[in-house]
Amino acid sequence: MTPILSISGLAKRFGGVTATDSLSLDILPGEIHAIIGPNGAGKTTLIGQLSGEIAPDAGTIRFKDADITRLPVHRRALRGLARSFQITSVLRGFTACENVMLAVQAHAGHSFRFWQPAATQAALRDPALAMLARVGLAGRADVPAADLAHGEQRQLEIAMALAGRPDLLLLDEPMAGMGPEESARMTGLLAGLKASHSILLVEHDMDAVFRLADRITVLVYGRAIATGTPDAIRADAAVRQAYLGGEA
């Protein structure tokens, strides 16, 4: 199977700190690929480089058979690479529906349309409502994003990411700050996306990771020390040594 995303030789240093160390990684179509690793392993830097906010020092990133290493953030998004943020990043002054409408709008050609009111346009609103329903926010469309509960805001993030019909989702700790109940709901939501999307998942919640992921890559000091199925990772001596430690 040709990978949908292929990272090779990626490297990034900040001053004396190596955040990404000649990292190579493939994400296959339809898989949930989790990236785990202790704090400071370079997970967030990796997401930054994949989404285009951080320029790597070396290496290439190929997405759907095209080199995107130097593409700006918005071009990657338009090609079908959507992301969510570690710190909830919805537009707080907008309603839930407007948030998703903007995401739909981003993929509906240019927005240099200055006259017709956007709020009532069915071409934006219908897909947005559908997407909200899909993530379980059907009844909350007209609530300002700032008034949504934390877990709901995270669901909204997913809806915004899905609205552009992406081929690959980069999810940066989607369960951060969630209680067990909210976590369970998010796990269910992500499991449901599996059939239609490839997902690169950075997550600290190990229960969720081992339940969801098809493959797991363990990152330590910017380097991939192991990649494999959850079972293989569980059994991997190097991983237990470096990361899972006494837990396993």
Binding site: R75, A77, R83, L102, S111, F114, Q116, L124
Partner: protein, 318 residues
């Protein structure tokens, strides 16, 4: 309750604006027409700034540049009225002022918008200073002293030299542009612009080339400020670098904040309040700035949402 109050204030205010010349005539206070002409023109300028400041989150500290270049465009075209390119026609001079201001905004915006935050504030200010010094050094157009125009622009059937007619032209322009702005901020473009103000990083990640949208808003804003400048030149029949002085940019910002940022009617309230305040305070003391300064600090510290905010405490930007 407040909703009704707001309606009363807005519609009542509008009716008052429409009837003002007749009222002033009846009271024998022609002075009010001139004063209100200034208010409306500054409201137009403040409104243009509000588009990028209030809706786009771009803190431009150099808006006087577009006001000034609009005024100079009218002045210079009139000065050369004997030459092939000179004209006193409002139908050419006003669009020309908007065009020149738009081109200037395009050049300044293209560079300034590469930066953000404090850099953006300082750079827009510095560019406006550059334009200021440019006109200070133009001896042919009066240098520091500026230049007198022979008359107001010629608007065909409308006699701009009559203060009341002039007033209705300005009011008409203001209302048309207010309505245009009302539509614009609700359009797809406006949604993107407001989204960028809220969270530009997010907007990029959604797939918006934010730089382009900001630049277009910046240029529209510059063009409208240029129109305000053109009307300002016509009102006083005089253009000088003082229109471009950096304190003008500061005053425009004050008007926007005073009225209520990111609201449709705010800039009008702000311009009105600013000029009335100036008028009232300068009656009391010639050193009225010594009151205005601390007052401004106080407004920033406690009444952040402006006058419009008093009418609309819910805080939804309209």
């Amino acid at each position: 309750m407040l909703d009704i109050l707001r309606r009363i204030v807005l519609w009542g205010g509008l009716a008052l604006l429409c009837l003002l010349p007749m009222l002033a005539e009846a009271l024998g206070e022609g002075f009010y027409i001139t004063m209100m002409n200034r208010v409306l023109i500054l409201a137009l300028a403040a409104m243009s700034l509000n588009l990028i400041l209030g809706y786009g989150g771009m803190v431009s500290f150099g808006h006087a540049a577009y006001l000034g270049i609009g005024a100079y465009t009218v002045g210079i075209l009139a000065y050369h009225s004997d030459a092939w390119f000179g004209t006193e026609s409002a139908f050419i001079a006003l669009p020309a002022a908007m065009l020149v201001a738009a081109i200037l905004a395009l050049a300044i915006g293209a560079i300034s918008l590469r930066t953000s935050g404090v850099y953006f504030i300082m750079i827009t200010l510095a560019f406006a200073q550059m334009v200021y010094f440019f006109f200070v050094s133009q001896q042919e157009y009066g240098g520091m002293d500026g230049m007198q125009m022979w008359s107001r622009s010629d608007a065909g059937p409308i006699d701009l030299s009559d203060n009341a007619s002039f007033y209705y032209v300005v009011l008409g322009l203001l209302l048309v542009l207010l309505y245009a702005k009302y539509r614009l901020v609700r359009s797809r473009f406006g949604l993107v612009l407001r989204g960028i103000r809220e969270n530009e990083r997010r907007m990029k990640a959604l797939g918006f080339p934010t730089y382009r949208y900001k630049l277009v808003a910046f240029v529209i804003s510059g063009a409208v400020a240029g129109l305000a400048g053109a009307m300002m030149a016509n009102l006083s029949e005089f253009v000088s670098p003082s229109l471009l002085h950096w304190t003008r940019s500061g005053e425009m910002m004050v008007m926007v904040i005073l009225g209520g940022m990111g609201t449709i009617a705010g800039p009008i309230l702000g311009a009105l309040a600013f000029l009335v305040l100036e008028d009232v305070l300068s009656e009391i003391t010639q050193h009225w700035m010594i009151v205005l300064g601390p007052l401004l600090i106080l407004i920033v510290l406690v009444a952040r949402r402006g006058l419009y905010g008093l009418l609309d405490p819910k805080g939804e930007p309209k």
